[in-house]
Symmetry: C2
Subunit: 427 residues, 2 copies
């Protein structure tokens, strides 16, 4: 799977691309953007530029040309993975060989002057719960006597989320209202949430299709991973605590889900596939339908994750976001392939552009928690900001930024851009 | 709201329409159908015929004509309710006044020769849980010590479902596989479900739109009810029991959800709006955002419901489906308006063609339960079929048919057609 497009020495003729933290020529993520004053189209990010693939289509492989005509990635991810690999190779050649510079340059737009769009028409959104340290941390707050339920190490737990409120990074988060009832309140009230939180997740964009009634054998499940993004599963913890039994989270999470705009493809992530961490001694083996030797050897991803918080006062003082958390995507108990195979194990049909969330990714150690609820121990140990402010949960004006970077020795690291949102007051 | 289109004495010139149990001229449900050998289009059902509204558009109000061009109801239900009321009045006039017969007749097709289609492009599907007797019955099986949780009488509990597996009535149900672990099994196994069940629900098709961040005040929430259908929330009880904690049902319910093809409109249901049954003494009052005097007086619906089961042996012997359950839609603890207002109470955006399930509607008495799990007391008291067969849960070859009819003294009753499915063996 590792080919010359992953050569860390490869250079692009696009100014600044080789030095760009996220989008060197080894990345070539896919997305949808509009140049200033123009309509949306499919593109890739190269350094500080967006490259118009719809305009560039005549120079790209025949197999993908038709899929580049509409400003949405679904048709491209309905194609076999070979087509996207051919696209990657073609883009790599066009952007590394100076012979192509004069033909390609007219299709480059400075990213700062472009507007990015949601890359897919999303059919369904499913949120998993594969961050075992998060499940343990948060379970111990909701159910102190019973943090990790007996099914957790057998079933990749997931639930359906809301598609209509999935939005691109940068969409403001209006503080939601909801039913809230503290443990000692005699009755609930309808009020703005007081326990607004983020959740650090990766989003998985599905490629290909299984028909209703068809399962997805795990040996081929990686072919169903189109690419990844960052995902913030904003959560209202007080609403969640009151509503979530017995059917799971609902209004506590469907007011906004933010995703980063660029799809870092499975092809770009190939060098960063690493062995699944060994299950702790005594943990059950996965059932056969979830077990695959290749997935064991290469089902995890070497992706470093960060969360930063910048209050309004911090931003007004020109301060950078404060690091809230730093973790690793290898903290997931189940692989992406296991998530896909389990999802389709009852014949549930997954389609190109379906979105899976991994669930919150927390590490085992303090400093690697993927939500404020964990970081502040349910608000009891607020975080001190550089301004002297304190945060138990998010306050109006707070900006949360998620960052991810695939990193592995011997390879050029590639990034996901960022996924941000600023909290606005309740209406 | 009650106008001459609800006159029980009104007659249509369409042969047999007046005698048709479901689709007399007082109903005029909306749907999408294809005449034999032709493409799909919007239609209404009148007696044993489908009437092509796309073809009839030049005779219909200007306000709806553009919305009739595509073979999907979303644009029509994006319009204000006035437009659909005008459409109803126009159709009523065309189908009752013989002066229009020669112009309209060419657009009539015998229903038996037509293919029906899913009426909407569904953006999101949410399943509620407003059948309080079901919640109590099933809660007592999953949690004997704690059947109805403390939030139930304050919060219209709901959760997100899967859109991709919503299918039209008649789609076969392939018995799904899943992780199953009995209470005494040492470990789970992956196997075909042994506890396949139906759930009798009404489906609600959303009309109109609230933007992300906007709520839907309850005084206007009825305007968001586009129409209703029957919905079967097929469930694998063994999978559900093992997977549902802590995030709710997932693979136990997303292998197929069946809906009936015709949308019985809010306008057609106007005469069947009845007072919400009084809450039992001691129950909490709804919070202000869920409380509206008009909704109290007219928020419930006088709809009679039935479930019939026909095993393969019964069908081969030419026997009708056996009545499994007979209930009333008034057994819902929350109204449709309360469901919509609660769903949008955190700013969650609902769009035309979104689907809400009510949750299983069971009555308080034996014989009115909306699922086999309730009828057979979790399989312990199997039902005897006329063939001598017994059913604890559904077996391969079983056909389940849901039926509903709006009935009220002084009005012509109207029906929903049916929602059926036959169980096929696991692959």
């Amino acid at each position: 799977m590792i080919d010359h497009t992953h050569d860390p020495a490869a250079k692009s003729w696009v100014p600044g691309a080789d030095a760009h933290a996220d989008f060197p020529v080894q990345n070539l993520p896919l997305g949808v953007f509009s140049p200033a004053g123009e309509g949306p189209r499919i593109g890739t990010a190269i350094g500080n530029y967006c490259l118009d693939l719809t305009g560039l289509a005549p120079m790209l492989p025949l197999a993908v040309r038709e899929a580049l005509t509409l400003p949405v990635l679904n048709p491209l991810f309905a194609l076999p993975g070979d087509a996207r690999l051919a696209l990657r190779h073609a883009l790599f050649a066009l952007l590394t060989d100076e012979a192509h510079q004069s033909a390609v340059e007219p299709h480059l737009y400075l990213a700062d002057a472009c507007t990015l769009h949601l890359p897919f028409h999303i059919g369904d959104y499913t949120d998993f719960y594969v961050g075992i340290h998060h499940a343990t941390n948060i379970g111990s707050l909701f159910r102190p006597d019973n943090p990790l339920l007996p099914n957790y190490k057998h079933v990749p737990i997931g639930y359906h989320g809301r598609v209509s409120s999935v939005r691109l990074s940068g969409t403001p988060l209006v503080r939601p209202k909801g039913q809230i009832k503290g443990p000692n309140d005699p009755a609930p009230r309808y009020a703005p949430t007081q326990r607004l939180d983020f959740e650090l997740e990766m989003g998985v964009w599905i490629a290909g299709r299984n028909a209703l009634g068809e399962t997805q054998p795990i040996a081929q499940a990686w072919n169903r991973i189109g690419g990844l993004c960052l995902l913030n599963d904003w959560s209202a913890r007080d609403v969640q605590a009151w509503e979530y039994q017995p059917l799971g989270p609902f209004l506590a999470k469907n007011f906004l889900t933010s995703v980063s705009p660029w799809v870092v493809t499975a092809e770009a992530l190939a060098p960063f596939r690493v062995a699944q961490p060994a299950r702790p001694e005594g943990d059950p083996e996965p059932l056969a339908y979830l077990d695959d030797p290749v997935d064991r050897q290469s089902g995890a991803l070497a992706i470093a994750l960060e969360v930063r918080l910048a209050s309004r006062a911090m931003r007004e003082a020109g301060q950078e976001g404060m690091l809230l958390s730093k973790g690793q995507a290898t903290s997931m108990y189940w692989t992406l392939a296991q998530m896909v195979t389990h999802h389709a194990s009852n014949g549930c049909n997954l389609a190109p552009g379906d979105l899976l969330g991994t669930g919150t990714i927390s590490g085992p150690a303090s400093g690697s928690e993927g939500s404020l609820m964990e970081i502040t121990r349910n608000g009891k140990q607020p975080v001190a900001l550089p301004t002297g402010e304190r945060r138990a949960f998010l306050e109006d004006g707070d900006a949360i930024t998620l960052i991810a970077r695939a990193e592995r020795q011997g390879f050029r690291s590639i990034g996901f851009g960022s996924c941000t949102g600023v909290v606005e007051p309740a209406l």
